[in-house]
């Protein structure tokens, strides 16, 4: 694992390159929008290539954390800059690369303050990479915050304001909080996630102190033994803290509002990658460090996940705003992720990680498409749209493929993920989880196809005369995402082989070999 003197610190490069890009954009490319975009393309592109390279050269036999780097930061406190990836994080790094490269292209047409937009976007990506690659919990937390905070400005400045009418017995509260506006969504999202991060921080410190306050390193904490009582409540803290970001019910309501208000690339990145940060945190930090606590509390995790699946799907069905439909579908799909993890079976956990990936790509695709539709039709009201398929066949096709993955149709990544999760549930301690999960996929089929039909099928709506299909850079985003979706659906081994090398030892820690 030692890093030779001439070895490229590949994870650091992947992580920090976008940040360098952000700095370059801020300081060299003022008022030159084309240069801004190209800097973004190049920096994220190199990161992407490097992550593909890392993915391809990861040694499955050796398994464990590879591409290891360690630089002590604050030795007395045991904080070091420690990076390394195993099968799970490797896939997540790849996902991040895919989404951000698509996102850069998808936001090509951002006109207002594009320099700041790209800079913030790239800074945020560094945070995301950092969380996935960090092996030091403290540094992980720092990256986590870096991944959350730019969101506020990204949504607040470039977001869009939706139409949510204050109604019901709490209408007064909605009027006071300004529900529906982008500022509201940005604020809600940021505060909610920071609220969660408080729990994470408490959890991290509890572990740190309990293990002897010598190190924040994941590897060293992994070796420590924590008393069961501590494990329980710390796992709960991690579950709530990270879970908020993963959209667990009933702490998910930031997600629809946030995603609906965010600009395209931000929604893509947020639903596609950031929500995975939450799930990844629960699996990596929560389950990885607190095996007994996790085993004790999976009933909760799985139960909530089941609620998520069905509840999210039904909520999605009730929405009239396209972005809200997609956002709620994320809530539902993140339920699958959490459910798979809660099964504590190899199949389930693989399914969970695979679903993180699949949903990331799928929802990234969805938000890219919704962004395009919105940009061209200037409406997100599903009821007002219709017959777009004729004018934008490419978008329609991509949307259909996304929908199919979403409802778990074979030959798309979504199917493999869901199937593995299903397989896991019945072998887990809580068999009945299978039924809400399957019901969720059926409900998904209902709302997704209904939306696809409403928007793209049927006679063209007279009020939308001049619609165009995707163009130029936008195609790049769509094609990449669709290809990945189908490729990993047809050859799931690509992802599961490395992931399996990480999940099996993890499970061995939790439930014994």
């Amino acid at each position: 694992m030692a890093v030779g003197p001439l070895t490229l610190p590949i994870l650091s490069v992947i992580t920090w390159l976008p940040f360098v890009g952000a700095l370059l954009i801020m300081f060299t490319a003022r008022h030159r929008p084309r240069a801004v975009r190209w800097i973004a393309v190049v920096t994220t592109g190199i990161s992407t290539l490097l992550s593909i390279y890392a993915y391809a050269t990861y040694n499955h036999e050796a398994a464990g954390f590879q591409f290891y780097e360690k630089v002590p930061l604050v030795p007395p406190l045991g904080i070091s800059y420690e990076l390394g990836v195993d099968g799970i994080s490797l896939l997540m790094v790849l996902l991040t690369s895919i989404i951000i490269s698509a996102g850069v292209f998808a936001s090509w047409t951002v006109a207002v303050r594009s320099q700041e937009f790209y800079a913030l976007l790239l800074a945020l990506v560094t945070g995301v990479y950092g969380v996935f690659a960090s092996l030091d919990l403290f540094v992980l937390f720092l990256f986590y915050e870096l991944a959350v905070l730019p969101m506020y400005l990204l949504i607040g400045i470039w977001g869009s304001t939706g139409d949510v009418r204050p109604r019901g017995i709490f209408a007064w509260a909605y009027r006071e909080t300004g529900v529906g506006t982008k500022e509201y969504a940005a604020m809600k999202l940021t505060l909610y996630l920071l609220f969660g991060s408080a729990f994470i921080l408490v959890g991290i410190f509890a572990l740190y102190v309990s293990a002897g306050a010598a190190s924040f390193s994941f590897l060293e904490l992994e070796a420590a033994v924590f008393p069961l009582g501590l494990q329980r409540w710390v796992f709960l803290a991690f579950y709530v803290g990270f879970g908020i970001l993963a959209g667990i019910w009933p702490l998910h309501t930031w997600s629809p509002d946030g995603h609906a208000s965010a600009p395209t690339a931000v929604s893509m990145l947020h639903a596609g990658v950031l929500m995975k940060l939450g799930a990844y945190g629960v699996v990596r930090v929560g389950m990885g460090l607190l095996p007994e606590g996790a085993a004790d509390l999976v009933w909760l995790v799985g139960g909530i996940a089941c609620i998520n699946i069905v509840y999210g799907a039904l909520s999605a069905m009730a929405q009239t705003d396209l972005k809200y439909v997609i956002a709620y579908s994320s809530v539902s799909h993140m339920g699958i992720v959490m459910l798979g993890a809660a099964t504590l079976t190899e199949a389930g956990l693989n399914g969970s990680v695979f679903q993180m990936f699949a949903h990331g790509v799928m929802t990234g695709l969805f938000f890219a498409l919704v962004g395009l539709v919105y940009e061209k039709a200037h409406s997100r009201e599903i009821g007002k749209m219709g017959g777009f398929g004729n004018a934008m066949p490419g978008i329609a096709t991509a949307f259909t493929i996304g929908s199919l993955s979403s409802l778990g149709l074979p030959a798309t990544a979504g199917f493999v993920a869901e199937l593995l999760t299903f397989l896991g549930t019945w072998r887990s301690g809580h068999r009945w989880w299978l039924f809400p999960a399957v019901a969720g996929t059926f409900l998904t089929a209902i709302y997704v196809l209904r939306v696809a039909k409403q928007i793209f099928w049927g006679p063209p709506s007279p009020q939308f005369q001049h619609l165009e299909d995707a163009r130029g850079p936008e195609w790049v985003a769509l094609v990449v995402l669709v290809l990945v979706l189908v490729l990993f659906g047809m050859a799931p081994g690509l992802a599961i082989a490395p992931v399996d090398t990480a999940t099996v030892p993890l499970l061995a820690r939790i439930v014994g070999p």
Partner: protein
């Protein structure tokens, strides 16, 4: 890997290659007819290969790891080659080929881009159906099962700008998906219990009676649910008639000859497993027979020619399932094959008629025999085969089914099936008489279809006859009660006579007749209210519940959050009120603070 597996694999991959080329190479796809030619070329080679495999009687299996896991792959993919799959290969490639050729003419007026899209879907469908047929295990079968469902959805919605087509496509997907929910739960359970999806292994264990699983009955029932959806068994049959919104060749291929028979194929394939759970088999038999009868009654009152055929398909699928349920899976499968031929024939012929007249309504047709005799002849051939008239193909397979059901002591299902024979003859000849004979309708100048369409028709008609003769010559050894043939022939004749009397001769007024059977007529015309029931359930339960949840989410779950936020803001605004601006109030603050400290200290002493 040897030739016996390589050749079927070729059959499988050719349409896939065509699909990929068409999907990726946009200019070719947009060229329309040329895309069709590519697809047809791939299909014909595949057909040849399939024919070879069938004639040679290849057997073999080849699998590859698909979803890896620590202790060997969870799931494999591959091909399973045996007589069952070989026969299906031939049927699928043949009908696909013919339909694709037919479509060249039938859809000749479509814009090239649309036509290209059509052939893309067609290739994908052929690939999916072949993959399903060749599946060596439940999981792969499910994968392709879903893919054919997708193609069905896409092709029903081919004319996606028609609201009816869009609705029908989505409906078909949902209803079949409902069945698939059972299927997937079933195979998940099966895997959990056995650790494998593989047919070979499962069958071997079943043979050795090593498959004593708790709840195997439930598992197989759940798996059967998939077939209920896909093969349009009661109560999930409602999507098939609506699926007729797709182009007629699609109906012929997918919704008559191939995809809808997937359920039957699956039950046949998994016969060794179903054999372990007789209760489920009996259920399958009962449901099949009931479906057959129910669909036949609906066919009798239908005026849309394609829908008549669709109900007829449902009905015949019921036969096949009944046979499978009675343990006579061979008979069911035989009926599947013959039905595939003559039903495709009927649909294509109906397509020719529709093409000529421009309407689906049989009451707006009439006397077409004179205008298009060739189509008339092949349609009648198909009708005879369907009605079970010897020596056409349908007769023998239907007899086999009936005798199988009788021998399984499923008396009531048998009676239902027998009654269905009568009804089948009646509704088919009703169509024949109304459409091809009787008074010609004024509008339009119907003409014979072009050769590209007539060729497949004749070919299918010839095959129907040939297979019948082949069966008549070689299939006589089947043991059946002696009274069965006369009974079914008599039933068919009664049906024919009734139709002749009512629609040809006018001896019996259909209106009087329907008045006589008013309750049945009323129900059948309303599809027994099943569609309405589903629609109602969907709206009231699913959508209603969704709206409720959506409301709860927005106004309760999120509401509580917003209330908390708003209360916090209000608390801030309220608390700020103590900052009155008057200096002495501030001194009160100090005094209260001091008091607070005193009290606190006394309390914590």
């Amino acid at each position: 890997m040897t030739l016996p597996t390589r050749l079927p694999l070729l059959v499988l991959l050719l349409p896939f290659a065509a699909f990929v080329v068409l999907a990726v190479v946009a200019p070719l796809r947009r060229a329309g007819a040329r895309a069709g030619l590519l697809s047809i070329a791939a299909m014909s080679v595949a057909f040849m290969a399939a024919l070879v495999a069938w004639v040679e009687g290849f057997r073999g299996e080849a699998t590859w790891s698909w979803i890896p896991s620590d202790g060997g792959p969870i799931a494999t993919v591959g091909v399973l080659v045996d007589p069952l799959s070989n026969a299906m290969l031939v049927l699928v490639t043949l009908v696909s080929l013919l339909v694709q050729v037919y479509s060249l003419a039938y859809l000749g007026d479509e814009p090239p881009a649309s036509l290209g899209r059509y052939y893309t879907y067609q290739s994908l469908f052929a690939f999916s159906m072949l993959g399903l047929v060749l599946s060596p295990g439940f999981l792969q079968m499910f994968v392709f099962w879903e893919l054919v469902g997708l193609c069905s959805y896409l092709l029903i919605g081919y004319w996606y700008q028609r609201p009816a087509a869009a609705r029908a496509a989505v409906k078909a997907f949902w209803i079949t998906k409902l069945g698939d929910v059972g299927f997937v739960i079933g195979i998940v359970l099966l895997w959990s219990a056995t650790g494998t999806f593989d047919f070979g292994e499962l069958f071997a264990r079943a043979q050795e009676h090593a498959l004593a699983i708790d709840g195997l009955g439930t598992i197989m029932f759940l798996i059967y649910l998939g077939a209920v959806g896909k093969s349009a068994q009661f109560p999930l049959h409602v999507w098939l008639p609506d699926a007729m919104e797709g182009p007629t060749p699609v109906s012929a291929l997918i919704h008559a000859a191939t995809m809808v028979t997937a359920g039957v194929f699956m039950v046949t394939r998994a016969q060794p497993l179903f054999a372990l759970v007789p209760d489920v088999l009996i259920l399958i038999g009962w449901v099949g027979a009931f479906t057959a009868l129910l669909a036949a009654t609906m066919a009798c009152v239908e005026s849309d020619i394609k829908r008549v055929l669709a109900y007829s398909t449902v009905s015949q699928l019921g036969y096949m399932m009944a046979a499978a349920g009675a343990g006579a899976a061979d008979a069911g499968f035989l009926h599947l094959l013959t039905h595939g031929l003559f039903k495709a024939l009927l649909f294509l012929a109906a397509g020719a008629v529709i093409h000529a007249v421009g309407t689906n309504d049989i009451f707006r047709m009439g006397g077409l025999f004179r205008a298009m005799p060739q189509t008339g002849i092949v349609f009648i051939v198909g009708t005879l085969a369907l009605a079970g008239v010897p020596p056409l193909a349908g007769f023998f397979s239907k007899e086999a089914v009936l005798s199988g059901v009788w021998e399984a002591h499923l008396t009531v299902p048998f009676l239902m099936l027998a009654l269905t024979v009568l009804l089948t003859a009646f509704y088919m000849f009703r169509v024949v008489f109304i459409t091809f004979f009787g008074r010609a309708f004024e509008a339009g100048h119907p003409h014979e279809a072009p050769w590209l369409m007539r060729g497949p028709l004749w070919l299918l008609a010839a095959l129907t006859v040939a297979v019948g003769i082949r069966l008549a010559v070689g299939g006589g050894e089947h043991e059946a009660p002696g009274w069965l043939v006369p009974l079914s022939l008599a039933s068919a004749f009664v049906g024919f006579a009734l139709a002749w009397a009512m629609y040809q001769r006018g001896l019996v007024d259909p209106a009087t007749f329907s008045t006589a059977l008013a309750p049945f007529d009323f129900l059948a015309r309303r599809r027994y209210g099943i569609d309405a029931l589903y629609a109602g359930l969907y709206r009231a339960l699913v959508l209603g519940f969704a709206r409720l949840i959506g409301w709860i989410d927005r106004y309760l779950v999120d509401g509580v959050l917003n209330v908390l936020s708003a209360l916090t803001l209000r608390a801030g605004a309220g608390l700020r009120g103590i900052q009155s601006g008057r200096a002495q109030d501030y001194v009160y603050g100090v005094a209260f603070g001091v008091l607070l400290l005193f009290v606190w200290a006394q309390l914590w002493r």
